[in-house]
Symmetry: C3
């Protein structure tokens, strides 16, 4: 259920038909969990944010312009339920778009095409103790890039999305670096494409993106590629994800297989994910994650997740996205959380 | 009046009964005043924020899950009406909870149990020129604690609230410090309990809380205790508050008596508060506050407050919560404000 | 169309009449454009924010108190659609007011009286590539002032607005500096007045304001004056603006003529603006701006703007308000943008 605020003034003036076609919707997710992560060096327990889905607050709307044309906007910001956050901003999505038979043109800040595959084809998405952690495989602070070697979102972007046609979907995005020509500091434009096919039980999609980093004299092009697929057999929905990120003489690959299965009034989720550093020794990791979500209603879920990260001698990969912890080189980590998620 | 946004989409689909039980509410307070504070060294005049009630904006909702169970969320952030603020965040409250016959379990950031007594049993609450200023009596920057020696709110907390039963109410809260075991930097977990009885004209409650500060080698446990009571005689509601805060070889006690009385289309408020530093000389203070709130409607109030702080030779206690000013050691301060408060 | 959220609870309790008179409105603007600015030294292309109108999100409400008296609040913050922004805050306007036959008294942060003329009597307002850039003509970081030599908005202000009478309108505002008496650091109080006449096709207004800067020993009073007028002939609406800013041994004058004209399903806008530095040599500039706004609906507009800034040898004036760029002394700049603006 979304809380759609029909424009009552317009409804009075023009009747229900128009009012139905123009709306502003207030929406959000509030999600918190008690979480624990331990390694042989120590452990930490606390309240984590977004264990099942990222906590957020948003405002969005669609206006019917006639002749099959629509204008839309979407303003969505992340929330830290655990501590109230450090400053609300529309960092998750802030876009304005025009939609029609031709598809959609969208301007602003939005998820990258490649990132959408990472969260779609992992049983835990990008939230909580079992989160895929699948972007910025090389570096979250890659020189000269704005948000790492493979950003989760593009600022200053323009996107084109295909209209729905026989199950095919797709998107191409370009993010301006906004650096002056001749600027020797850095180049940080990005582009990405995604093409998929979702029809009945099958969903399959591939993505490709590049991000420019470095200085003008020493440009580094980070490249990312991924391919995901899932098939809903009813009893269970297996899924597979292959991703690779390359640049600056590094390459990290990610392989993940997972499954979602309805069990009782909820859903079991499981995934195994392999991180392979192809250029450096002893930097691989394997993560196992197992969880159950108990649906209290369509909008509200009690969930529990356990996960284990097995790190090679030089690897330091962590678990989850919220509870701060450190993992020394070669140490394994075990985490669990029990939480409550509510959509509005 | 609260602006409750019934879920119209759901209402259409499922009928009024469910729609009534699931709602998202937008609410807030906007409050500003012209304020003045003077000491013998000088004076300052300006626009103050929240002279009668803290300015805020919030979103909250309740979902009926059936069988007496409910899910709820509450997102509320402070607003500076005087200058627009430095960054909106859900710092006043960000919680998700499950409610039932058993009471409520709540996760997130919320007011501490002890703080609720401070604002309840003082005629001016914690707002404006007559504000109780009753938490962090020892230090608002106590070493190793997150928000002082006695925080107003807990981040990373889990609370249990008693169900209503024969007038008794109560709450126990624990706030994770989220420090790794063996971490030598600081420990900052907190806990607090509150137990009260409110029936007819009588309301009485006590609170107790601890906050861990310092380093692992030198742990400091700050402790706070308070007891408040009020009785509504109709013509007037007298109230009393006793509070004490101890830790790091310090102890500060607070005693306050006050009264609220309906007079004409409004309410007279008065309070006398004594601050007693039990370990250090000449650090005591006494504050007198007198105010009147004229109700323009149930939601809107014009108010005026005058207050005087009498400081011992080494005391530097200030007046109010918004207008920045300094008080040199041993100087008295006089303040007044005239403002307008609106709830929505 | 504004999304007015009638207070449904009150509506149920008291009937439609009261509900109509008490409301909370959610409103906003989302505006982004692809923009380009070039000088002989280089160029930059990117996504700009607010090319046609400043992107924003707000909450406002009015309560009818009876006897012709109303209480109102207005909370409005700027949004960066291009990158999500760095922290949402109610920096555009945060006020509470009382309205009646006597006019309005308003407290909080609000646009200055003089600034309102600058945006009203320029064909491009203060948004986008053709923006007037007409405040802080001397300095946006004038010593001892909070927001430059001629602030766009006052924090900590109290305003009185005339009631509507025969077309005359007016406003006087005072912004507290909130500095203690005897404070040697800085003085930063401001005041401004605006008086206008708008009746039928004619609109004319003048504004005057002062801002105190500097130290107590060396006080600088910045003064600003402006006069604007427009006349709607139907086929076109010509407008003229004269502004001057003085202080700290500097003086910069601004002259601007412009026109808006309905053409097809939209509007042509054009303006020429002269910036005259009266105390320093070779610091003058001239800007030409031409644009067209194509109305997709009452709420949504596609727009295109081109602008050229011609700078004297020592002048460095830029174009627009969003896309970051530098203009070396004496270099001319050319910019254009193509964008989409949606009101909700």
């Amino acid at each position: 259920m979304k809380t759609t605020l029909f424009a009552l003034a317009a409804l009075t003036a023009t009747g229900g038909a128009l009012a139905q076609s123009s709306s502003v919707t207030l929406f959000g997710v509030v999600d918190a969990s008690v979480a624990h992560v331990s390694t042989k060096d120590g452990s930490v327990t606390g309240l984590a944010n977004g264990g099942n889905a990222s906590s957020r607050l948003g405002f969005r709307g669609v206006e019917d312009l006639g002749n099959g044309l629509k204008a839309s906007f979407w303003l969505e910001g992340g929330i830290n339920v655990d501590d109230g956050g450090s400053g609300f901003k529309f960092d998750r999505r802030s876009t304005i778009g025009l939609l029609g038979n031709f598809g959609e043109v969208r301007l602003g800040r939005d998820k990258t095409p490649t990132y959408q595959n990472l969260e779609t084809f992992h049983a835990f998405g990008d939230s909580g103790m079992g989160a895929i952690n699948g972007h910025n495989l090389i570096s979250s602070s890659a020189a000269g890039t704005i948000e790492g070697s493979n950003p989760k979102r593009y600022s200053n972007s323009i996107s084109y999305l295909l209209p729905k046609m026989n199950g095919f979907y797709g998107q191409a995005s370009y993010a301006f670096g906004e650096k002056a020509k001749g600027n020797s500091n850095s180049l940080s434009s990005s582009m990405g494409v995604r093409l998929g096919y979702g029809n009945g039980p099958l969903n399959v999609a591939l993505g490709y993106g590049t991000t420019k980093g470095g200085t003008a004299a020493d440009t580094i092009n980070y490249k990312t590629f991924n391919l995901g697929a899932s098939y809903n057999f009813g009893m269970l929905t297996p899924m597979v994800l292959i991703a690779s990120e390359r640049g600056n003489n590094q390459r990290v690959d990610l392989y993940s297989v997972g499954v979602k299965a309805p069990v009782g009034p909820g859903e079991v989720r499981a995934a195994v994910s392999w991180y392979k550093d192809k250029k450096r020794n002893e930097r691989d990791s394997v993560r196992l994650a197992l969880g159950y979500g108990y649906k209290l209603s369509k909008r509200t879920e009690l969930y529990a997740t356990v996960a284990h990260m097995s790190n090679d001698d030089n690897a330091t990969r962590k678990l989850g996205t919220s509870l701060a912890h450190t993992v020394a080189a070669g140490k394994n980590a075990t985490g669990y959380e029990l939480g409550l998620r509510h959509n509005f």
